[in-house]
């Protein structure tokens, strides 16, 4: 599976928007559900109770005691420890003792094998930690209620909000401890599995992406190139030996983007498409032209280079290049100097296919400036940080759910939320909400199934069907609301970056994920508070 880091970037404004959506909608849902529950259970006096509790919660927030929260955190920690939750290390140990047997000969390491090792470790660490966190989060408070231990806590000055926070922090800390130990072992395992000679395969690339546009065979600009018939329209193709080009513009190009020897490293992963067989042992060729977008005549074109099909390839461009006895400095001459119309530091790069009637395919992320690499461990720990945020998220949702329903139901609820956070469920929900899924909503689909009507068949316009559509639209709106409060795994896919040899960017990955995780704190704590304050803490 091809991984495109640029596709996974989350830009800070979007993350802030998402923070507001999650915090706002989730909090609103919690408040509305709490109010409705109180109205149902207490009648009209539910209004009064609701506002009293709301004010009480605000008061409790200002009288939080770190010592009490820490006491409850320690309790959660000791409970997990004494109840042998850390036995998960045994499973982990067994997994790593024998994993090497099934993962190939470590004397000859291929780049793809490195990816498998890293993916294996990061996936194993995550899959072993999250179930432990899920169980601890969902069973802690319900067990306290069942065994009535909570009676000895709530009859002390411990606020409900402190109980919820203490549990959340405690469960998260256990998860983080488990995660840390496994991560250290996993890191050592990866490093040991890869022979010294192949250690350079453990890389942490820092790509700088530009914006791409295409020129057709007449040299006219367009957003896309030629589609050669791929179902996956990720890449566009340029035709060889014509004016067809792919043109990138890189911004803010400066010395920091050069490697230690002062060269500009360009990395590409172009794909080749042959319209005739020709000599199959001969690769297709391309050349790269670096140019000043304000003065296109100032340019430098590389020698023709072979396309590395299915592998990435680097082109090293020295800072000083000579064209017709004129020496250019890439940074000073080929990038823009800055004016009223054009900002400073823009570098134009044009890629051409040299072979007639052959095509080279590329997408925005197929050409990037490769900044000096970071050590592998930096990316590795950033990926672990992403998993740590998932641990926090699962513990928050799990603890909040466990204050309302029994432990197994809370566990299922949390697990379902985690599963739905995946890319595909979210895409499906997006399509459903946007009305892009054929066959209509829930009731309409059932009607079509029962009546053996195809998804494109027009339905009769009668009152019954109008009711069906109204009902479906209510459900769709509910689904839209759910979609807003279900976390998106896109925010926590840092392991993908590292497995594919990329660094995890702070600005477009780590900080947005931190922001979105923090958005769940307020509604989850609020949910826990309301549930524990408005229910009788008796085991039933």
């Amino acid at each position: 599976m091809y991984f495109d880091p640029a596709e996974n970037f989350i830009y800070p404004p979007y993350a802030i928007y998402n923070w507001m959506i999650v915090a706002g909608f989730f909090t609103a849902v919690v408040l509305v559900v709490s109010l409705l529950t109180l109205l149902v259970s207490k009648g009209s006096s539910g209004f009064g109770v609701f506002f009293t509790e709301l004010i009480g919660m605000l008061k409790d927030v200002f009288s939080l005691s770190p010592r009490r929260i820490w006491a409850l955190t320690r309790l959660t920690f000791m409970e997990a420890y004494r109840r042998k939750a850390l036995a998960v290390f045994v499973v982990f140990g067994l997994l790593f003792m024998f994993a090497g047997w099934f993962m190939g000969d470590s004397k000859e390491i291929q780049p793809d094998q490195v990816k498998v090792y890293i993916s294996f470790v990061l996936t194993a660490v995550s899959w072993l930690t999250l179930p432990v966190v899920l169980i601890l989060a969902c069973f802690g408070i319900p067990e306290d209620i069942r065994l009535r231990s909570i009676h000895t806590v709530v009859t002390k000055p411990a606020r409900r909000i402190e109980i919820v926070l203490g549990r959340m922090i405690g469960v998260s800390m256990i998860g983080w401890l488990v995660l840390s130990v496994m991560s250290v072992v996993g890191y050592l395992w990866i490093v040991r599995q890869i022979p010294q000679a192949s250690q350079e395969l453990l890389k942490c690339r820092v790509p700088i992406y530009g914006l791409v546009s295409f020129k057709d065979r007449e040299g006219n600009y367009g957003k896309e190139g030629i589609n050669v018939g791929d179902i996956w329209a990720f890449r566009s193709y340029i035709e060889g030996a014509t004016k067809s080009r792919a043109e990138w513009r890189f911004f803010n190009v400066d010395e920091t983007m050069l490697d230690s020897e002062g060269n500009l490293r360009l990395e590409n992963s172009f794909s080749a498409f042959r319209s005739y067989k020709g000599d199959m042992t001969r690769p297709l060729f391309y050349d790269i032209k670096l140019f000043n977008i304000e003065h296109p005549e100032i340019s430098y074109t590389t020698q023709p280079q072979p396309v590395n099909e299915f592998r990435s390839k680097q082109d090293i461009i020295p800072r000083k290049v000579t064209v017709d006895d004129v020496q250019y400095d890439i940074l000073n001459d080929l990038t823009t100097k800055g004016s009223d119309k054009v900002p400073k530091g823009i570098l134009g790069i044009e890629v051409a296919c040299i072979d007639r009637d052959q095509y080279i395919g590329m997408a925005r992320s197929d050409l990037f400036i490769r900044m000096p690499d970071r050590p592998f461990w930096v990316g590795y720990w950033k990926a672990i940080f992403g998993t740590a945020l998932t641990v926090l998220l699962v513990s928050m949702i799990g603890v909040a759910a466990s204050t309302m329903v029994k432990a197994p139901i809370a566990a299922v609820l949390t697990a379902v939320m985690y599963i739905l956070s995946g890319k595909n469920p979210h895409q499906f929900m997006d399509q459903l909400v946007a009305g892009q899924v054929q066959g209509g909503g829930v009731l309409e689909s059932v009607y079509r199934l029962v009546m053996h009507l195809g998804p494109s068949t027009e339905l009769p316009a009668n009152p019954a069907f109008t009711v069906v559509q109204i009902f479906d639209s209510i459900l769709m709106n509910f689904l839209w609301l759910c979609k807003q409060v279900i976390p998106r795994s896109q925010y926590f896919n840092m392991p993908e970056y590292v497995a594919n040899g990329f660094d995890v960017p702070w600005a477009t990955s780590l900080i947005p994920s931190l922001l979105v995780t923090s958005a769940f704190i307020i509604p989850c704590v609020m949910m826990g508070y309301f549930a524990l304050r408005t229910r009788e803490l008796e085991s039933k």
Binding site: M78, E79, R83, R148, S149, H151, T155, K156, A158
Partner: protein, 300 residues
């Protein structure tokens, strides 16, 4: 707060337990009104299901009243800050079984924002007070006997040196020695000026320690007054004296009959079984060793 000022005020308190659909299932309490005054030991009595524990849980905010009002230490039952001055011993000692005695008291001490030094000092003092054997203090509570669990339960209830102590069946599951210790502890708390509210169905225990009692039946208050007032038989007279000779006893009987006394009975009083048991255990402690005990039942 003066001696007669109520620490707990309950007015028209009712509690109806409902099923999932909100339909009334059981009326556990019906218009209960009572006061508990500062410095007294108040006993809630009643058979199983009479509403004693429900009352206690309503007072602590563990249950919500269907009707009525509760004021504890001048605050509402839902107010968490009241708990600063309350100690609670649940019916069963619902403690964290994976903690040991020190950890348990340390945990509850932290909930009262006590410093490490305060927690340590208080824990040692309380563990001595409840007479928990030193060798048991580092063991997890899951290894404790019922009596030991009860002792640590009492210790946790007193960790904050509370003004009001609520004890739910404090002597249940305790052997006579433990029971005696518990009663002594309650009397000691009273001496310290603390208010104790206990509920029990062990009448002898209540009689030994309570100043006032309330008897509940079917969720309703049936009787409430001072124990001595309630137990006093106005139509009988009791005379206690040191041992008399048989002649003196006959003379006393004659005098009493002359003054119109009927059903006269002059006899040697019998001790309670508890007194006998405690005396035997104390003697055994003082003089360890096996003794042959004659079975006197054959002689009778």
């Amino acid at each position: 707060m003066s001696q007669s000022e109520p620490v707990i005020e309950i007015r028209n308190l009712s509690k109806i337990y409902r099923d999932f659909w909100g339909r009334p299932k059981v009326r556990a309490l019906n218009s209960l009104s009572l006061d508990v005054r500062k410095g007294e030991v108040f006993g809630l009595l009643g058979p199983n299901g009479s509403g004693k524990t429900t009352t206690l849980k309503l007072l602590l905010g563990l249950l919500f009243p269907t009707e009525g009002e509760i004021t504890i230490l001048g605050k509402s039952a839902a107010d968490v800050s009241k708990n600063e001055r309350i100690g609670y011993l649940p019916e069963e000692s619902y403690l964290y079984r994976f903690l040991n005695a020190y950890e348990t008291l340390d945990f509850y001490g932290r909930l009262f924002n006590m410093t490490a030094a305060q927690r340590k000092e208080r824990s040692e003092k309380l563990l001595d007070l409840v007479k928990l054997a030193p060798q048991a203090r580092r063991r997890q509570l899951k290894e404790y006997s019922k009596g030991m669990t009860r002792r640590i339960g009492v210790a946790q209830a007193l960790i904050n040196d509370p003004d009001l102590v609520m004890l739910d069946e404090p002597t249940s599951g305790l052997d006579p020695l433990g029971s005696r210790d518990m009663k002594d502890l309650i009397l000691d708390l009273k001496k310290q000026g603390k208010t104790v509210l206990m509920c029990s169905h062990l009448l002898a225990d209540v009689q030994d320690v309570c100043d006032r009692i309330a008897i509940l039946y079917g969720g309703e208050l049936k009787v409430m007054d001072r124990v001595d007032t309630l137990l006093k038989s106005e139509d009988k007279t009791q005379i206690n004296t040191s041992k008399l000779s048989a002649a003196a006893i006959s003379e006393v009987e004659a005098v009493l009959k002359r003054h119109g006394a009927s059903d006269v009975s002059v006899d040697h009083p019998t001790a309670t079984l508890e007194d006998l048991f405690l005396k035997t255990v104390q003697e055994s402690r003082d003089r360890p060793g096996h003794r042959n005990v004659a079975d006197r039942t054959s002689a009778t």
